[in-house]
Amino acid sequence: MLSWGNFISQMFNGLVSGALLALIASGLTIIYGTLGVLNLAHGAMFMLGGYGGWIAYTYTGSYTVAVAAGTIFVLLVGVAMERGIIRHFYNRPPEDQLLVTFGLGIVFVEGVRLVFGSLIKMTPPPEIFRGITNLGFMVYPTYRIAALVIVVVALGALYLILYRTRIGMIVRAGIEDSTMVGSLGINVFKVFMLVFGIGAAAAGFAGIVNAPIVSIAPDVGDRYLVLTFVVVIIGGVGSFPGAVLGGLIAGQLLSLTSMIDPAYSEIVLFVAMTLVLMFRPRGLLGTAGRE
């Protein structure tokens, strides 16, 4: 069972799920870093992306349209959420923000359950990515390779937005000191709205890209929310590179442990988190300042 080929393919599985976790976690972490809000409905964003894409797919039959529709839908949900509700919580204690986003998460999940039922929904991969590919050293499902590439491209795009654009500069400055950014005459609220939308859309995008691998159900996001926390704690809250590193570590830990005994995979991950907390409480790539 512990063969070399098995090991390689588990490494690959870990890479795919790690990249996915990295993308979800970077969405969570840029929202937290900029706005100071931990979005407990982030798992629901992941789920909504999957459903948005699935609906678009059932009408058009196009994978590309599904990914675009799912992402844009969650972007809009994120923007609406920030405008309608989160904005009123910036000056309230962090506990209130947790409570309200937790409640919103339930509303999203239960709303979807009411409309679409609890049964799983399948979004098939596009024609060209079906089947398996021989990589020379192993045979691997084609869509997983495609998903890995897509997610890496998305992470790259997020990196470019954050590090190469004006808005990204404002976001990174906002992570350091949002009051200061505001006093420089930049409309922080507009930026906040956009950041919340982009952060949510990152999770939504991951949700629809993942849908052909793991079929979706209303509570599909719950598990990812918890894993995302672990990723962010390991990597460092508010740090984009930290989210990526944490995601990759978590992906490998999960899949390599499950090769030995699946029962322990989550436990090993949480042990890793505890170790990080004990020896480097701010996370591997986190900065000391923000609590």
């Binding site: 931990l38 409570l99 937790f102 339930i106 926390f229 704690i233 436990i267 907390l277 409480p281």
Partner: protein, 620 residues
């Protein structure tokens, strides 16, 4: 002011409520199997409320203790020969307390949002551990069936609680004991410190309290409450479900408490009642199974947005409004307090250690150096805030520190009180090397600071604020008198009354801090530092933001405090400062420029150039 309220009203009302509830509810047609879960969730909610409502620690991981306590009790009752349910509950309490201690060690390393995330993650570990590695003991996804109903072995006879009606009395008794103990905790000195941690953890620790210890203690208490409730759940259902470990359980606890009202102890019971009533209404009466959680979610979001303190908080506010309208305003009670307060001069918290707080005021004054900073530097990355500062203050001296904005005065103070660790150099206070010590230890040694920006406990009264400060001196950095009373703390009232008189806040003792005027808050800020009976008091811009009139009053106040004390004062108001101090140290660009008497400083050309002669010192 809990302790001077009518005693035991809450306890008696709870007892009456629990006694009549089954009859009222039977009359209303509510079946007893709905009441029992309410009691169980109400009980674990008490612990959660101590944690969240009183200490401000929002844990999303209570399911770990609920499940663990329940599994331990169920294991004892089904897999061992022990069939005494009370013993099983006791074992569950101990087990969940130990688990709470271990989890707390990890989770309490961080605060706020980080803390919430860590608790979620840790609770998930328990969920997975229950399902797989521990399945042999916990039954995995099947749980543990065959848990007996509660019993009471009194030696001579055994009372069995087999039906739902009978179990109600057992659970009701558990709830009653739980609420009585929680009320005592809330009214104890620890309870007050917990609220201080909730409102302003930094100040609570600067006032000499080991806040980490108290947080860990309340975390364990909450875990024990939750674990016992888990044990009761198994007995009620005859089966310990693995669902107790689910994240949803933690979420339910949080939501029920927020719905009912956090910080009220009874809120969770109310929240659980609303929750279970709505659940039954939607699922059974209206047959809307799938919709009920959606509606609940919407209600919850609305409550968090508009009724922050939940139903119980809303009721309290309504009651307050009604009372204000219907009842004539009560005469101020301050007169009584004034009469009761002994002459302040006698009770001034002045010298400490050795003579004790209540000791004679006119003990022999000590001489020599009280504080010495040697070669103290602080760097933030490339920025040097303080450079090679050598600084000495003698007993009984009043020292002023001036310097332009950005001269490094506040950083220097923060290093002296150990809020910020110096990059290099040492600090010696009364012969002890305090470099790198904890701010609460330094306060315990007798060195404290009043802050430039008020650091008060906004949701508490003036009296409670001063009590929190005084408790630091009177009880030490950590003491676990969870069930003690405030009146049991010797010298507390005198200490508080003395300090209040000193900063001229006696008539305002029972006013909430949020209602004070700015000048009053400023005096309370100084009062908090004074109430720790410091042998060296640092004042960081005590006159900041005051009107000219308030300045005159505060200077007079500082003068009266100054007698027999050692103080270091930073301020920009040079005229007032020179009037108060014996010597002045001038800081410029992180280093000491010159030191001397006020007259020397006034005459010093370097100071005039650097500071006085140039831009007029900002007054705020």
């Amino acid at each position: 002011m809990n302790r001077r309220h009518r005693p035991f009203v809450a306890e008696i009302l709870t007892a009456i409520g629990l006694l009549v509830a089954p009859f009222v509810l039977r009359w209303l047609g509510v079946p007893p199997n709905t009441i029992n879960p309410i009691l169980i969730f109400g009980l674990l909610g008490i612990g959660f409320d101590l944690l969240f409502g009183f200490t401000g620690l929002l844990s999303f991981g209570q399911s770990a203790f609920f499940g663990s306590g329940g599994m331990v009790a169920a294991y004892v009752l089904t897999r061992t020969s022990m069939d005494n349910t009370l013993v099983a509950l006791l074992v569950a309490a101990v087990a969940s307390g130990v688990i709470g201690y271990l989890v707390g060690l990890v989770a309490l390393r961080r605060t706020g949002i980080y803390f919430a995330m860590i608790t979620v993650a840790i609770a998930e570990v328990f969920f997975f551990a229950e399902f797989n590695p521990l399945a042999h003991w916990t039954g995995g996804e099947n749980g543990l069936p065959g848990v007996p109903t509660p019993n009471l072995r009194l030696g001579f006879t055994t009372i069995e609680f087999t039906t739902n009606e009978q179990m109600y009395w057992f659970f009701g008794a558990c709830y009653f004991i739980g609420i009585v103990l929680a009320l005592r905790i809330v009214r104890s000195p620890v309870g007050l410190i917990l609220r201080a941690i909730r409102d302003n953890p930094l100040r609570a620790s600067a006032l000499g309290h080991n806040i980490h210890g108290y947080k860990l203690a309340v975390f364990i208490v909450a875990a024990i409450y939750t674990g016992i409730a888990g044990g009761l759940l198994g007995m009620m259902q005859g089966f310990m479900p693995p669902d107790a470990f689910k994240f949803e359980t933690s979420g339910e606890i949080v939501m029920q408490t927020a719905i009912g009202g956090a910080g009220t102890l009874f809120g969770p019971l109310l929240g659980a009642a609303v929750w279970i009533y709505l659940s039954d209404l939607f699922k059974i009466t209206l047959n809307l199974g799938a919709m009920w959680k959606l509606i609940l979610g919407i209600v919850f979001v609305l409550l968090v947005m508009f009724l922050r303190r939940g139903i119980a908080g809303g009721l309290v506010d309504l009651w307050g409004l009604a009372a204000a309208r219907l009842l004539p305003p009560r005469p101020a009670r301050s007169g009584v307090e004034d009469a009761a307060a002994p002459p302040p001069a006698v009770l001034l918290p002045r010298a400490r250690r050795g003579s004790g707080v209540g000791g004679p005021a006119d003990e022999a004054p000590r001489t020599g150096t009280i504080l010495r900073a040697s070669d103290l530097s602080k760097r933030y990355g490339g920025i040097i805030a303080n450079r090679n500062i050598d600084f000495e203050v003698d007993y009984g001296e009043i020292r002023g520190i001036i310097g332009p904005n950005g001269a490094g005065k506040s950083t220097f103070f923060k290093m002296l009180t150990c809020e910020v660790a110096p990059s290099s150099g040492t600090i010696t206070f009364e012969g002890n090397d305090i470099t790198g010590r904890d701010v609460s230890d330094v306060c315990q040694l007798g060195l404290t600071k009043s802050y430039q920006i008020n650091q008060l406990f906004e949701r508490l009264t003036v009296r409670q604020n001063l009590e929190i400060a005084a408790l630091g001196v009177l009880r030490g950095t950590f003491r676990l008198d969870l069930l003690g009373s405030m009146s049991g703390v010797e010298g507390l009232d005198g200490h508080v009354a003395g300090t209040a008189a000193l900063v001229n806040l006696t008539p305002r003792l029972d006013t909430a801090v949020s209602e004070l005027a700015y000048g009053e808050k400023r005096r309370l800020e100084i009062g908090l530092a004074l109430a720790t009976a410091p042998s060296l008091l640092l004042l960081d811009e005590p006159l900041a933001g005051m009107s000219p009139g308030e300045r005159v009053d505060t200077v007079a106040l500082l003068k009266s405090i100054a007698k027999g004390r050692t103080m270091i004062i930073i301020d920009h108001d040079m005229d007032s400062l020179f009037e108060l101090v014996n010597r002045v140290t001038v800081l410029q660009e992180g280093s000491i420029l010159v030191e001397g008497t006020p007259d020397e400083i006034r005459a010093d050309r370097r100071v005039q150039e650097a500071y006085l002669g140039g831009i007029e010192g900002e007054s705020a």
